[in-house]
């Protein structure tokens, strides 16, 4: 029993695949990570064509409501996964697909994308565009170890079904007299949308992709 590896599936919805690539950016450690689990499905890396039941299903991407298949897959992962993980900001928070609105050839009706957390119950959700390789590995390790304490923030993100954005720092930190100007939000932003001006984060809304990283990284708010 103690030697049995957990079964893991990776499922891609409307995503760029960057979250999976992030995991692959563990380079020489990648094979070891794969052998610490039992990967049972990952369309990008292997030939299994049907999502099997699995202890953990990592789902990347948001859900296109005009795509019947996508909704089916969302339902299917909830049924088949003991633990469903929304991997990355598209699945967790919507991310760049929050800006989608349809009208593009040849599928002009594809225009409504929701985060996976809005469509099905997710046990864990990981923001980030993409989450760093090191963080993904930490989370997988914590799942294997059953380390609920470490997973706490991700459980919370799994529950919260609202969008996220750099402006959250304004509302939740600066406006609440909590920002002390450490600058970590600025460094963490994957699009460099945050500049520190007069000791406070200044968010360029047109560079923000709503990945939720800055809020997650801020030490002054509960994650």
């Amino acid at each position: 029993m103690e030697d049995k590896k957990i079964t893991v599936a990776h499922v891609q919805l409307s995503s760029c695949c960057g979250c999976l690539i992030s995991l692959a950016d563990t380079y020489e450690k990648f094979p070891d990570i794969l052998s610490s689990i039992d990967l049972v499905y990952c369309q990008t890396l292997m030939d299994a064509r049907e999502i099997p039941e699995a202890d953990v299903i990592l789902v990347e991407g948001s859900v296109c409501l005009e795509d019947h298949h996508a909704l089916e897959v969302a339902r299917e992962v909830r049924e088949k996964g003991k633990t469903v993980v929304a991997l990355g900001a598209c699945a967790a928070l919507g991310c760049v697909t929050r800006f989608s609105k349809g009208g593009q050839m040849p599928k002009p009706v594809h225009g409504s994308f929701s985060s996976l957390t809005e469509i099905i119950r997710c046990d864990l959700a990981i923001p980030g565009c993409p989450p760093s390789p090191e963080l993904i590995v930490e989370v997988i390790t914590a799942i294997i170890r059953g380390d609920k304490e470490y997973l706490k923030p991700f459980i919370r993100y799994g529950e919260c079904k609202h969008e996220s954005c750099g402006c959250d720092l304004i509302v939740n930190v600066i406006n609440k007299s909590l920002c002390m100007g450490c600058g970590i939000c600025s460094a963490s932003c994957p699009t460099r949308a945050i500049e520190m001006i007069d000791g406070r984060p200044l968010i360029s809304p047109h560079l923000c992709v709503k990945c939720g990283v800055c809020s997650f990284q801020c030490p002054r708010i509960e994650i």
Binding site: S22, D25, I126, P127, G128, P131, S132, P133, E134, L135, E138, P153, N172, K176, S177, L178, C179, M180, G181, C182, G183, I184, S186, A187, S188, C189, P190, M196, D198, G199, V213, C214, F216, Q217, C218, P219, R220, I221, E222, I223
Partner: protein, 289 residues
């Protein structure tokens, strides 16, 4: 309540290098540690607070002893040092980084190390966290009012500022010294400091400040193996000279007292804000240890 957090030992120390002492705030511990690290391949970069004209702080990745020296000295205003943390590992390609920061910045860094969500390939490149004691901080314009309005000195003339003996001190390039009672400076503190309960950077590898040691010396709290190793080597190789910490009222006594005062005072503020239904910072210190 444990006022100082976990630590292995506490000493008084100062740099032996006169160049460092000349530019440093107190005993030059921070600069000496970074220079020692750079010269001995323990570090290849340090995240520091440099400054521009008029004491405007500028976060910077220092990769040479000269750049570390340029950044020596306390800026009594917010310097978002961590905003350059990622540049250090990207365009600067550092692999062994030292970080100096106020207690809150050390907390942010520890959190990023535990949950490196937006910090691809960072974790194994942070080599040393040096925390500086901190009772409160001022917005830039707050500092300007203290210097220009309360002390009557033009910011451009200031070479050093300091807090000690209950006063805020300003030293000018003309050799003058002005001061004002800390009571007068309180209205200019940034309010987010009032919910901060960490005085001595409890999550750093090494914490240092002036309180508890004689003028020109620093109090150094060695918190873990990593901090111990580097300080011991520096002492052995003559980079630092030390004296035992004064265990009494003017040494450890006052340090503990101030640390406790900050905790108690700001815990009250936290409770007060809770009562008003306002959010307060999570207890990250507990979470991260």
């Amino acid at each position: 309540m444990d006022p100082l957090g976990n630590y292995k030992s506490i000493i008084s120390a100062r740099a032996t290098d006169k160049r460092i002492l000349k530019r440093a705030q107190d005993g030059g511990i921070v600069s000496a540690v970074f220079i020692y690290g750079l010269e001995n391949n323990l570090l290849d970069g340090a995240v520091v607070a440099s400054k521009e004209k008029n004491f405007k702080p500028v976060p910077k990745v220092a990769t040479t002893p000269e750049e570390v020296l340029e950044a020596a000295g306390t800026k009594y205003t917010v310097s978002p040092n961590l905003s350059v943390l990622k540049s250090a590992i990207r365009e600067y390609s550092c692999e062994k980084i030292g970080v100096v920061g106020t207690p809150c910045q050390i907390i942010s860094t520890r959190k990023a190390l535990k949950y490196p969500l937006g910090f691809r390939h960072l974790v194994d490149k942070i080599a040393l966290l040096v925390g500086i004691f901190c009772m409160e901080n001022f917005p830039y314009m707050g500092m300007k009012i203290i210097v220009e309005e309360l002390c009557g000195v033009r910011l451009e003339d200031v070479v050093k500022m300091d807090i000690g003996k209950g006063k805020f001190w300003v030293y000018t390039k003309w050799g003058e010294v002005k001061s004002v009672k800390l009571k007068m400076t309180h209205p200019y503190e940034q309010s987010s400091c009032h919910v901060c309960t960490d005085y001595t950077a409890e999550l750093a590898d090494i914490s240092t400040g002036s309180v508890g040691s004689p003028d020109g010396w620093s109090t150094v709290i060695i918190r873990n193996h990593r901090g111990e190793e580097i300080i011991n080597n520096m002492i052995e190789e003559g980079y630092l000279e030390t004296r035992p910490i004064d265990e009494g009222k003017f040494g450890l006594g006052i340090l503990k007292k101030l640390a406790l005062t900050k905790k108690e005072k700001n815990m009250k503020e936290i409770e007060h804000r809770k009562k008003l239904g306002l959010p307060v910072p999570p207890d990250v210190c507990g979470l991260l240890q």
